[in-house]
Structure formats: C-alpha cells, structure tokens
Symmetry: C2
Subunit: 331 residues, 2 copies
DNA sequence: CTGAAAGCGCTTACAG
DNA sequence: CTGAAAGCGCTTACAG
C-alpha cells in the first residue's frame, strides 16, 4: 500500500480510501487505480481488520463430522450460498466425530479470527465458547443441538421423521422391523431411535433387542450386520435405516442377498440413485442445503446485532414413498 | 496479549515467547499460562503473521466447481488430511463453473492472505496469478490443468481411462456406443471425448454425430437426452457416460425405461450404490481423495522451498468390471 | 477532500 | 532469559 501511495503520489490514507470506496477526488482515484494495476497490489483485508471499527474478517468456519459426506457437503453448499452474498468466505473441516479434533479445529479457526462458527458437534462435545460468544463470536449449531452451551441451532425433525417412517411400515402390517442405527451418543441417532420406539409403542409392538443394532463403523459394519440380521431365523420383514451411509450399506446387503423385493426398507435421508433402483427407495428426506442456508441466516443475524435468546429451528422431514417402503410383510 | 502480560506481570515479549514455545523461565511461563486461562486469551495468529518472518497464515484455499459434488468433496477431504498434519486450515468455495465467480473467490482468498490455492479451474479460466506466485503464493491445479498459467497440477488419466472404457465395449462387439459428455470446454470432458474417439478409431468404427451428446445442465438434461437417445430408431447398444452426475442420470433413465439389462453402460468415476444395483455399474474409477492428497503435497513442497519447474502428476484410472459394461449388444 | 500520526495485536532484532 | 522499542499493513480520528 505504501508502494502504491508512492507511485500514485498520494498518502496511504488516500489509497486506503480508494480501496475501500470512500469519497476521493476523481483524478487521485484514477492515479491510485493505475498504481494498483501497475504493481499488482493485493489488498490485505486481514491487516485492515486489526484497526477497522467492526473488526470483521469476513470469514466463517464450518466443522462437520466429515466434509466428504454428501449430507455435510450439501450443508456446506447452503452456507456458502448465503455467505457469498455478504462477501464472506468459508473454512470447512472434519472432526471425524472426535472431540479432540473438534477442539483443535475450533482453536485453529478462532486463532484466524473467524467471525462465526457453524458446528455439527461431536457426540461428546466439550465445546466451551461462552467467552468467545461474549466477545462477539457468532455461533450456530447444525444437525445436532449443542450440549454444553446455549446457542442458536437448526435441526431436522429427527424423531418425528423416524416415527413417521416406522409407522408407515407398521400400518402395512409389518411387526418385525429391524433398526439399523448410528453410533449412539450422536443426537440424531438417539432421536431417531426414540422415533422408532414411539412408532412401535403406538402400534402395540414389543421391542426386540436383536432387531436394534448400532454399527460401529458405518461403512464397513452396516453391511455385515444387515446381512447377518437378514439371514437369521427370526429375520425382520422390514428395515428402518437411520442414516445415509447406513442406508447405502443395507441396500447393498439386500441386493446382494437378492432380498430387495422381499424385505421392506425405509431410510432416513435420501441417497443418490434412490429413485432409480428397483424397488426405488422410500426415505424420510431432509434438505441438507436448507439446513445450511438457515444456519448461515441465524449466524449473520447475530453479526447484524440480534442479541436475543438462542433460537432453535426444526425443519420438516417428509416421507417420500417410492416402493421399497411399501412392500408387504413376506414371512 | 497486553492484558495477559499485565496480569502475569511480564512483558508482552515474554507472553509472545510462551505462546510460541520459545525458551522462557519456568516460573514466568506458569504465570503466563495462568493469566491466559484466567482471561480466556485467544492467540491472534493472523496479527502475528504481519510481523512474523515467514509471514504464513497457515491457511489455504480450495476452489471447485461445487463443494457439494461428491467428487470434489472427496478431493477436499484428501487435501484436509495432509493439511491437518501441518496445522493448516482450509477454505473451500464453489465457482459454479463461472470464471467471474472463480475470480471473485481467488481475490477474496488472497485478500485473506492464504498461503496457497488449489484450483479446479473453470473451462474458460482467466486466472492471472503470476505475480502472486512470484510473491510466494503456492498454486496447484487439480482435476483440470491450468490454461493461462504454468503451475503444478495433478490430474486423472482421463483420455486413457475413457479409451480403456470404450475399448472394453468394442471388444464385446458393441459398434453403436453413445457418448454422454460433460460441457465441452472443460478439460476433463474433451480428454474423455478424445479417449472415446481413439477407441472407436482403433476398432475401425466410424463416429456418428447423433451418438455424441453434451448435456448443458447435467443434472436435468442428461436424463432427457439419454431417454431420447435410447428411444430413437437407431439407438446405441451401449453408453459411455463421462462424469459422475451424468452417470447417475443415465442410470435413472435406463432403469425407468427398463433397459438396464439390455443396454451396456460404462461410467467415468464411481457412483454410490454402483455396486449394489442390478446390473452393477462398470466404471473407470478415479481416487478423488488421492487427487486431493497429492495436490496438497505439491502445494506444501512449494511452501517448503521447492522452486523447480512445474510438475504434472497423472493418476491411474482403473476399469472396474461389475456387470453393466459386460452386457453384449442386443439389437 | 487530503495527509500526518497514532494504533490494532502481534513478533523481532537489540540491549541488558 | 527478559524487556523496551520498532514495525508488519492497514484504518481511523484529527487537523487542515
């Protein structure tokens, strides 16, 4: 900036004004712009933030379980869409469901002075950000509510969606419905299990322990567990799979066993090709992108000065009937 | 930091040393740490970078077509894996294949002083970063090579993979092979088309114009175009779909028409459930995560001082036979 | 409208 | 090892 000022023959104050669009005499502005082009000057917004009144970095951070899970990357996209309109750029990182990694990421992001954070917290989150929030950090939770701090959050209707899915199965006469759940401890997992239980209770069906399973490592275990459950003598006539990766694995297992037209299935969260395969997959859908948009909205409203109590948004999870969930009981 | 110094009864220099792990007398270090905890002090790494010798922000930027495309989010994950070992956090943004948006993102990221940039450039990239690279920016291209600047890049073997895929079809007697390609102009698209052509030429099959199609809007058009092609009187006996989203749409069309067991298909890039559906989908696979890892490696080697000529890495694209690509010609 | 000076939160020579 | 001072690239009162 000093170099630009020297070449343009003005003070750095004037260069700063031109760069920031403050009123400057036209002839000086032209000189400055020429010098900027000549030198290939890049404004250092970060340095400016140190002195600027608002102190904003125009930067926010996203912390997900895994940035490459399509569910989370769709949230990312939704956040980006609204951040973009404000000239805000977005960090994104994966906690891998490890509280320590989550904490590292939070620390790293705050050391870079992000204006806000959108977090899908780990099951055992120890998030301690009260002071940072008091100091102006905008904090929003997405997909899972915060446990150790009171903050804005946006969730899907997990319990309601699961209950609707399972009731859909009981209404068609299924009484043995397998539950393939996510690692317990994760909020969405326990809510969906609660929904499953509520639906069984409503239909007067007793729970069976061996029908409720929680694969530890989703991608690898879910396939095995599903296969095993389906091969057993008291196999279920229907499955409720409570997470997108688990649904994919259960579908693989069903298709490999050739049981996809025998055993009903409803999944939580849509899957690619879910509509194309035979039978097409009935799911409870959630709009990840919309979760992201809403989370960003909450975040920016805080940066814009909203100072009221924490808000909690719950998004609908409509049931999409496509075939797999409408198969009658077969055994 | 000043407050910490005041409470600990030391100079800010000493606080700085403690925070950065420089040698400090044990008793003073303890006092500083207590003050840090008491105040909830957050180090401002960004402010430090202004004065620090290396000037590094420990920040890099990723620019993809779309962060929510599973291919790109897997690259993101690969980058993150190697960035993480260095305490580097990652921005990620979507260009939507628009050069102007790409430029905005680059400018925004450079204004936040990222140490490096990993870009999957738009078809008509006007990327002008020579001066920034000269000033120390580490720049790597991924998935698509740079057109307007010489820089490190890591690509998949697009032409070779496509040629292998199509030759696989011709070897089984297919002579009418439909090509469903990405928007032309995108490097990967033209390479894959070249591979398709090479395979036809090698098999002595003349090209047919109406069998080579480029959906404009992948998600929406690919379905229509595939359906139309399959319904025509001179329909192909096999399809080569040259991108993951296009493969998904073509599969939807095939399944909806009930032709999935009649018309062979090989896709470029794997798709979820590709293994589960019937017939399972034969693909040319690329490891997006590995692309990301390698790109990050190239980037960090530059930051570590490598100053040689631009490198170009080409990753293998093995053919995975699963069934859909092994269907014989039917008409 | 414009410029000189002070200062944002840090790190880095430089003395001690 | 420790502290006082200068300075990184900017913005912001404050005079003119």
């Amino acid at each position: 900036m000093r170099d630009v000022a020297a070449i343009a023959g003005v003070s750095v104050s004037t260069v700063s004004r031109v760069v920031n669009g403050s009123p400057v005499a036209a002839d000086l502005a032209v000189k400055v712009q020429q010098a900027v082009a000549l030198l290939g000057y890049r404004h250092n917004h970060t340095a400016g933030a140190l002195r600027r009144a608002d102190g904003l970095s125009l930067t926010i951070g996203l912390i997900f379980e895994d940035v490459s899970n399509p569910f989370f990357s769709a949230i990312h996209r939704g956040v980006e869409e609204t951040a973009r309109t404000r000239g805000v750029v977005t960090f994104a990182g994966s906690s891998d469901e490890e509280p320590e990694r989550e904490r590292e990421l939070i620390d790293a992001l705050l050391a870079r002075r992000v204006d806000g954070l959108i977090i899908a917290p780990t099951a055992t989150d120890r998030i301690h950000l009260r002071r940072d929030v008091a100091a102006g950090l905008a904090l929003v939770f997405v997909d899972r509510p915060p446990v150790s701090i009171d903050a804005d959050c946006v969730l899907s209707d997990n319990r309601g969606g699961a209950e609707r899915a399972v009731t859909h199965l009981t209404m068609q006469g299924h009484r043995r419905i397998g539950y393939l759940g996510d690692r317990s401890g994760i909020h969405t997992a326990s809510e969906r299990l609660a929904g499953y239980r509520a639906a069984l209770a409503r239909a007067g069906i007793p729970e069976e322990r061996q029908l409720i399973r929680h694969p530890r490592h989703r991608a690898t275990d879910a396939y095995e567990i599903t296969s095993e459950m389906l091969r057993s003598s008291d196999a279920p006539t229907a499955l409720f799979t409570s997470q997108n990766l688990i649904t994919l694995e259960a579908l693989r297992a069903l298709h490999h066993l050739g049981l996809q037209a025998q055993v009903a299935l409803v999944g939580f969260d849509d899957v690619p090709l879910g509509e194309a395969i035979e039978p097409a997959v009935t799911v409870v859908a959630q709009s990840a992108r919309e979760l992201g948009r809403q989370a960003a909205q909450l975040l920016f409203s805080r940066l814009d000065g909203y100072d009221g109590p924490a808000r909690r948004l719950i998004l609908d999870t409509p049931l999409i009937q496509r075939g797999s969930g409408e198969l009658p009981p077969r055994r």
